[in-house]
Amino acid sequence: MASAETTAEPTRRRKDGADEAAGRGGAWFPGWYWPSFALPGTLWLLVLFVLPFYTVLSVAFGTVEPLFRSPLPVYQPWWWSFDTFSETMQKFYAGDAVYQQPLIRTFAYVILASSICLVLGYAVAYYTARHAGRYRVLILVALVSPFWISYLMRIYAWQSLLASDGYVNDIWSIFAAPTNWLSGRPVTVILGLVYGYIPFMILPLFGSLDRINQSMLEAGRDLGASPARTFWRVTLPLSKPAILAGLVIVSLPMFGDYYTNDLLGTQRTSMLGNLIANSVFQSGQGPEAGSLTVVLMVIVVVPMLYYLRETKRAAESL
């Protein structure tokens, strides 16, 4: 999901030309001409993106029909009640705090999995950008292909390999006793998340490392820096925006992920996404699903806005 703005290479800088073109465009086109192109998409987003968002709030801050426990969304903000919402919130900290463990787990898994994605992904992206030589295109195709393989199929493939009579245990049992990998082991779920999302990390890193000018590195070496020092002082700082972008891109979907754990873990490894997915389809749990979705939104809003700001900045600097 690396933004096009960061990877696109426009042939000409349009910073100055843009306003000029708009001015001249005004002479050729009536004022409504270009907006009318953007209108269908904008209306679509208002009805099917903004309005659903608002419905989540209305359900989360709505009430429940007392007899059948079916949710009654409240669409007027001045009548919003925070009873069901705070009821859900209390499950995070008060009483037996049944939701506390999943929330802590979510953060722990996402942080660990993103870090592994970064270290492993950086090595692969670095090698591909710098040393792949004539295998470069082949490696790139192999790096991109997971995007066109269903996420579920990829996790399903691991589920088969990790089964008690699967190939992983065949190899593992040479060294140790066979293990039940799918019995709610954090290591399985974390590696599953890494496996699922690491392609999103590698591509922006590759794009950034590939664009670093070789002469910068040669300058560093000519000025007497060791290869390690050149990496530390030149390559790493230059790839910092891509590192941060990559971390955001892999962690955003991980926060909402529930299917990885459904296939590779159990109740013992459930995450925030599992809580939401489980409550959505249960009758009477509508407000709870809405409230948990609001929590998820609050968690992801900062990294999301950061990412959007960075892509905008990158697009403007082109």
């Binding site: 096009a4 703005e5 990877t7 290479e9 426009p10 042939t11 306003d19 465009g25 086109f29 907006p35 009318s36 953007a38 269908p40 998409g41 679509w44 987003l45 099917l48 993106f49 309005l51 419905t55 989540v56 969304p73 492993l120 692969v124 670095y126 090698y127 040393h131 490696i139 790139l140 195709v141 192999a142 790096l143 997971p146 995007f147 066109w148 269903s150 996420y151 579920l152 199929m153 399903y156 493939a157 589920q159 088969s160 089964a163 690491i198 794009g207 955003l252 979907p253 926060f255 992920d257 299917y259 459904d262 296939l263 996404g273 939401i276 959505v280 699903a289 809405g290 979705t293 959007l308």
Partner: protein, 305 residues
């Protein structure tokens, strides 16, 4: 004493030797990184290849090999992919969702990208921000939002099922087309159109005869990307599927994986894999052919997601 001198000298030369090799070839092959990359690629692709092979397993197991057979593809009375009514329906439904989604999402998305590229001002920035927000928002949030809006606010207009799935998928996929087409617009610049207009083309003509042909590689790439992504989509499609008959292959794989899957599920996944890979490969070849000589006609448009 002579020994220690000798040690010192040899140590010095080996060290100098290492240093010299650095300067002779500072970009020499790093074996560790190479091993990591090869290991990663195997780790990344081998499981999927094994899953494909197991669709030809003779036994019921999807984890231990029991010989070759085609029974999970066709031939078994009820259990193969092509004889199991539910799986066949799911396969059809996958394409029933993907084809209209690709056409509508790319159509609206392309128009939006052109409009937003030319129309400047505050509302344009707002619309663009909304579009980018839908691009980065975790699918889980959009899925729950759409589920709730179709069960409560729009419950009299349209119930869960194929129609809701189309609308949801188009909402989610539109932004991919916008991002790809806008990148291309930025690299084309306004000059070609201005030249056409200077030569007397009307707005409609310059759009049809100049801009759209120049955009065609990006539009083609968007169609392929959206199609492939819709075939693989799971979160939105599952939330918005009303009943079992509106569950596409991806949802069937999920349900089967949680119950007792047979290699027929591997066959279903293989169908998804082959169809997305085929569409992407065809689009890439066409893209190379028609985009030749145009800037940006390389693999990068397919890697932007």
């Amino acid at each position: 004493m002579s020994d220690s001198v000798l040690d010192h000298v040899t140590e010095g030369t080996t060290r100098r030797g290492v240093r010299a090799s650095y300067f002779r070839n500072p970009w020499r092959k790093p074996r560790v990184l190479q091993a990591v990359t090869v290991g990663y690629l195997l780790w990344s692709l081998l499981p999927v290849a094994i899953a494909v092979v197991f669709s030809f397993n003779a036994g019921r197991s999807r984890s231990s090999w029991q010989g070759f057979s085609l029974r999970w593809w066709n031939g078994d009375e009820f259990d193969s992919l092509f004889t199991d009514e539910a799986l066949r329906q799911a396969m059809l439904h996958t394409f029933r969702l993907a084809i209209p989604t690709a056409i509508v999402a790319v159509g609206i998305g392309t128009a939006f990208a052109i409009g937003i590229d030319r129309w400047r001002g505050r509302p344009a920035r707002g619309a663009n921000f909304l579009m980018l927000l839908s691009f980065v928002l975790p699918e889980m949030i959009l899925g729950v939002s759409l589920f709730l809006v179709f069960t409560f606010l729009f419950d009299n207009l349209l119930s869960l099922g194929t129609g809701a799935q189309w609308l949801g998928l188009i909402t989610f996929q539109m932004s991919y087309a916008v991002v790809i087409v806008r990148a291309r617009l930025l690299s084309i610049g306004p000059e070609y159109e201005e030249a056409a207009m200077d030569l007397g083309a009307r707005p409609g003509q310059s759009m049809r005869r100049v801009l759209l042909p120049l955009l065609s590689p990006a539009i083609l790439a968007s169609v392929a990307v959206v199609f492939a992504d819709t075939v693989d989509d799971f979160v939105i499609v599952r939330f918005l599927s009303g009943a079992a008959d509106t569950e596409p292959l991806s949802v069937k794989i999920y349900s089967a994986a949680r119950a007792s899957p047979t290699p027929a599920v591997n066959a279903a996944a293989t169908v998804m894999l082959v169809s997305t890979m085929t569409v992407i490969a065809i689009a890439y070849l066409l893209y190379r052919r028609y985009g030749r000589g145009q800037h940006g006609a390389d693999v990068s448009s397919f890697t932007q997601l």
